[in-house]
Each structure stands twice: as C-alpha cells, then as structure tokens.
C-alpha cells in the first residue's frame, strides 16, 4: 500500500512539474490593461506586510500598540473605519505574539461590531481568537483575523451596507501602512524601504471613496482622507528598484499616521 502510494506520488510529480523554461508568452498591452484589480485578493493583508518586514530585522512590534480612542464614535462610517484599524491592530498584536493585547483588541473589535449591529457575527470568532492566542497559534490567528474581516464584510453586504465594507478595508489598510512605515522610519534600510511599495492600492480606495454616497463622502473625516490619499499613494508608488529614502519613509509615515489620527479623533 505504502509502495503504491509512493509510486502514485512520483508518477504524479513527473506528470505535473513544469519549469519556466517552456513558459508562457509575454502578455499583450490589451491583456495588461484588462487585468482586474480585485480588492481583497489584490491588496496585501496586514500580516503579509508585517511578515515581509519581519524578515529583515527584529521589529519591536509592541512599540506600535496604541490605546483605544477615549471617545466612541456614533457615526456608522467612522465606526467602520475604526473597526478596520482595530483589525489591523489585531495582526500587529499577533506579530508581537502578545496574548493579552490580542484579547484586548478582540474585545475592542467586538464593541465596534456591536455598535454596527454585528456583534453576533463576531462572537464565535472572538472565542477562537482568544483560543488561538492562548495556544500561541500566531499563524492561525492571522488567518482568523482575515476571516473576521470577511465575515463582517459579508454581514455588512447582506444588510446593504457595502459602503461600510469599503471603509473597514480602508481603515485596515491605512493602519497597516502606518505601522509598517513607523517601523521602517525607526530602523531605516533601503532593503526595508523596497518592501513598502504598494502601487494602485491608494488609487483603488480613492475610486471607492469617490463612489460613496454624498452623505458619507461629505463627512469631514472621509473628505479629508479622500483629499490626502493621492499623496500617500504617490509615496507608495516609486519606480521599481528605487527604494524610498529615509526622509520619504518618514513622510509616508506622517501621512498614514495623520489619517489614523483623523479616524480616531472625536466626532465634530
């Protein structure tokens, strides 16, 4: 039985492995232009960004923990933005391998989800997040956090709240860039700066913000983020092979951190 299984495996391998030598033809201009940008698939998860940075040093991820904003928001769009930033904080806590911080963030996510009427969707996930943290299954925790985001997004969509999905994703992405840029600014290397190149993501979110209903787009926080996004997008889109300078990384961090402060600021 074992020999037969091994034989099958080897035959399968011979049938399936190919190399780049007999590889594909280049794409045409039309094909390149027609390639879709898929949102969730095309944008790196915070854990993906932190994992790349973790390979070029030993970041002190705990240095980037932050406290819950003192004043809770009542505006649903702002709660969704905040929720996204907290989900990114969950990845950060997982990267720092800090059990208590993971649980604290999980509680904050639960409260924000409750404010949006989505507490039920998060309850089961909240328990597994605590279990993964207790068992130090940090990789599984990353996957669970992304599952949380997907489940909350599905629940928002089911309630015709697709605008909130955009804002939650934007908050998550902005906070991940904020943390990554803060880390790079603290321990700048050209190699690290090469990692933080994310062309097209800011454009994607800018077009999504543009498509929001006027009543959301005109909220001062959203309008200001929309105004600042192109500058962040430009700083993340330097030509390939040209890492951002230390000064440029600091500027990138200022931009992202400024937007996170806006999201956390008390409502006017």
């Amino acid at each position: 039985m074992f020999r037969s299984a091994c034989l099958s495996a080897l035959l399968g391998l011979a049938a399936c492995v190919s190399t780049a030598a007999d590889g594909p033809q280049p794409l045409t201009e039309e094909q390149i232009r027609g390639a879709e940008f898929l949102g969730g698939v095309s944008i790196p998860a915070p854990g993906e960004l932190f994992a790349a940075l973790g390979k070029i040093g030993k970041p002190d991820w705990a240095a980037f923990f932050r406290k819950q904003p003192p004043t809770p928001h009542t505006s649903r769009p702002l709660i969704a933005l905040n929720l996204g930033t907290r989900i990114a904080d969950g990845y950060l806590a997982a990267e720092a391998q800090d059990r208590q911080q993971v649980k604290n963030i999980s509680m904050e996510i639960k409260l924000l989800a409750k404010s949006l009427g989505l507490e039920q969707e998060f309850t089961a996930r909240s328990n597994s997040i605590a279990d993964f943290a207790d068992n130090r299954r940090w990789d599984a925790l990353d996957e669970e956090l992304e599952a949380v985001q997907a489940e909350l997004a599905a629940a928002m969509t089911a309630r015709s709240d697709t605008d909130l999905v955009t804002l939650m994703s934007l908050g998550c992405w902005l906070r991940s860039v904020d943390v990554a840029a803060a880390q790079l600014a603290a321990e700048y290397t050209p190699q690290g700066a090469k990692i933080l190149r994310l062309p097209a993501v800011a454009d994607f979110f800018a077009s999504r913000l543009d498509a929001l209903p006027a009543k959301i787009k005109t909220l001062p926080t959203i309008a200001e983020i929309q105004r600042r996004l192109p500058a962040l997008g430009a700083s993340l889109s330097l030509p390939s092979g040209t890492p951002a300078s230390g000064e440029a990384v600091a500027g990138m961090h200022d931009l992202a951190a400024g937007m996170i402060r806006l999201i956390n600021a008390p409502e006017k």
Binding site: P24, E29, I32, E48, A52, A150, A200
Partner: protein, 144 residues
C-alpha cells in the same frame, strides 16, 4: 522533498477522482478543490489568505488579475476547476506583462504557481485552461 511529495500526492489524487460535481454549486466545488491543494503549502508554513478569486474562464483566453506582492515573502497561487477534462494553468507576469520564473504545478483541473518576488509591486496572475470552453474556476493564495 516532503512538500513535493505531498503536492504530488494531491495532484495524483485529483487525477484519479472525477472532479466534476454531480450537482450543486460549481464555485463551492472549485473552492474546496483549491483549498485542498493549498493545504500542502500550509503544511510548509504558508498562511492562507481568506479572499478568493472565482469566476468563469473565458473561452480560449486567460483570466487576468493584478496583485500587490511584497519582496521578502514567498507566495503560492493555487487554482482549481470542476471541469475534470481540462488542464488548468496558473502563470505570473510582471506589471509589464513579462513572465516571471515561477515554480509551477499542473495536473488536469488543478494548478499552482509559487513565486518569491525580488521587488514589491504589481504582478499579473493569469489562469487559463486547455479545452477552449468556458469553465468555472477558483484561485486561492498563500504567503510566508
């Protein structure tokens, strides 16, 4: 070596089993098959992303998507279709459309491509099939 054997085992299994669903949702079947194969990378420390790319491959043309990949990480893109008689392929290109040197696996309705970008940025994924007829597909991806 273990990983290669695991992959080969999964792909061999896929050849033996008829991947066509008797009935039901094609997208679910494709996703399940893609996730089963992607499990091989998970055993090697790859984290699976939650978001999936599903759709129907246009006849005789690849489905194309742009993804942001990060230097320093390694990626596996794993695709499956429920059309057992076709051969699926996953290929990776630069943002200028040039093919990159990727480790590829193909066997009938399952295919995967592994890649470690030297530069962060936009890359283009292409999923194609051999039969020339539209077939449903699902692509999942993992990183470490």
């Amino acid at each position: 070596m273990i990983r290669t054997l695991l992959i080969a085992s999964f792909l061999t299994l896929a050849t033996v089993l008829d991947a066509s669903p008797a009935s039901g949702d094609a997208a679910v079947t494709c996703r399940r098959a893609a996730l089963e194969l992607a499990g091989a990378w998970a055993n090697d420390g790859f984290r699976l992303r939650e978001h999936v790319w599903t759709g129907t491959l246009p006849a005789g043309k690849p489905a194309l998507a742009r993804v942001n990949l990060l230097a320093g990480n390694r990626y596996w893109f794993t695709a499956a279709t429920n059309a057992a008689s076709t051969t699926l392929a996953v290929e990776i290109f630069t943002d200028r459309g040039m093919p990159v040197a990727a480790e590829t696996h193909r066997n009938g309705p399952l295919a995967a491509a592994g890649f470690a970008p030297a530069e962060s940025g936009i890359y283009i994924l292409a999923v194609s099939e051999s039969s020339g007829t539209p077939v449903p597909f699902c692509l999942v991806h993992s990183y470490k």
